[in-house]
C-alpha cells in the first residue's frame, strides 16, 4: 500500500533524510513571510511500502504521511 503526504505537512523537511529508500522527495522551497519552507512528496516509484514513515506515532511530527486507501 503506497503512502502520500497530506495537507497537514508543515514543510519542515525532516522526513527527507529519514526515509530509508530515499522516496521522500524535496519539492521547490516555498517562502512564507521570513521563513523558507521545504515541501515534499513521496515518489511511489521509489517507495517500497516498508511503512517506516508511519511506524511511530510521530515519525512525521505533523502526522502528515498516510496510506493511500
Amino acid at each position: 500500500m503506497p503512502y502520500k503526504v497530506t495537507d497537514s505537512c508543515l514543510k519542515c523537511g525532516y522526513c527527507i533524510k529519514r526515509c530509508p529508500e530515499g522516496a521522500i522527495i524535496a519539492d521547490e522551497k516555498e517562502k512564507m513571510d521570513e521563513l523558507i519552507l521545504q515541501p515534499v512528496h513521496i515518489d511511489v516509484e521509489i517507495c517500497t511500502d516498508c511503512g517506516v514513515c508511519v511506524s511511530e506515532e510521530y515519525w512525521c511530527p505533523a502526522q502528515a504521511i498516510v496510506e493511500i486507501q
Binding site: 497537514s8 508543515l10 514543510k11 519542515c12 525532516y14 533524510k17 512564507m32 513571510d33 521570513e34 521563513l35 519552507l37 511511530e56 506515532e57 510521530y58 515519525w59 512525521c60 511530527p61 505533523a62 502526522q63
Partner: protein, 166 residues
C-alpha cells in the same frame, strides 16, 4: 582524590557551565558521563517568566526532540508537595492545544512530538524544573511556521537554534 570522584557531579564545579540564563543546578549528558542520557535541573523563581515575554505564544517556541522527554514541575513546599505555587502554560501538538496547570506535574513528550511554547504565567514560590531527555544528547528542531507572524517577530530566534538535526 578518590577513584570515584568523577561520579559526584557538581554543575559548574567539576563539569562545564553552559551558556544559559536559567539558574541551573544540575546538568548531565553523554559528554559528562559516557552513556548518560540528558538531564537538566533548574529553579523557576518569581520573575522567571519575564525573560520570556508577556504576549500570546511567548516562551520556548514550538519544537521537537529525537528522544522522548519528561518535563517535571516539582513544587517547593514539602508540606504541600502537589501545590506548584505557580501557574504554567504549555501548548501541545501542531494544533498548539493550550494547557495550564498549578499542581506538581510531569509532562510526557513522545519522540518527535511538537510541544511548546512553555512558560510560567506566574510564580508565587520557587519550584524545581527537571528535564529528562531519554537520549544521550540534547536535540531540538523548531517549528516557527506554527506561530502567527506577530509572535514570530517578537522572538529572538538566535536564542533558539536547531541542535542535532541536519
Amino acid at each position: 582524590m578518590g577513584k570515584y570522584d568523577k561520579y559526584f557531579v557538581k554543575y559548574g564545579i567539576n563539569t562545564p557551565k553552559v551558556d544559559d540564563l536559567r539558574p541551573i543546578v544540575a546538568r548531565m549528558d553523554n559528554s559528562v558521563a559516557k552513556g548518560c542520557n540528558f538531564y537538566l535541573v533548574h529553579w523557576v523563581a518569581p520573575g522567571f517568566g519575564d525573560i520570556l515575554g508577556d504576549y500570546e505564544y511567548a516562551g520556548h517556541p514550538p519544537h521537537i526532540h529525537k528522544s522522548a522527554e519528561l518535563l517535571m514541575h516539582i513544587g517547593g513546599d514539602p508540606d504541600n508537595p502537589m501545590d506548584l505555587n505557580a501557574e504554567v502554560e504549555m501548548y501541545m501538538g501542531p494544533e498548539l492545544e493550550r494547557h495550564t496547570f498549578t499542581e506538581s506535574t510531569i509532562i510526557y513528550i513522545p519522540p518527535n512530538f511538537i510541544h511548546s511554547p512553555w512558560r510560567p504565567l506566574r510564580v508565587d514560590k520557587p519550584f524545581l524544573f527537571i528535564e529528562i531527555n531519554q537520549g544521550p544528547e540534547h536535540t531540538e528542531k523548531f517549528y516557527p511556521q506554527l506561530l502567527p507572524k506577530e509572535a514570530r517577530e517578537k522572538i529572538d530566534w538566535s536564542m533558539w537554534p536547531d541542535k542535532g538535526f541536519d
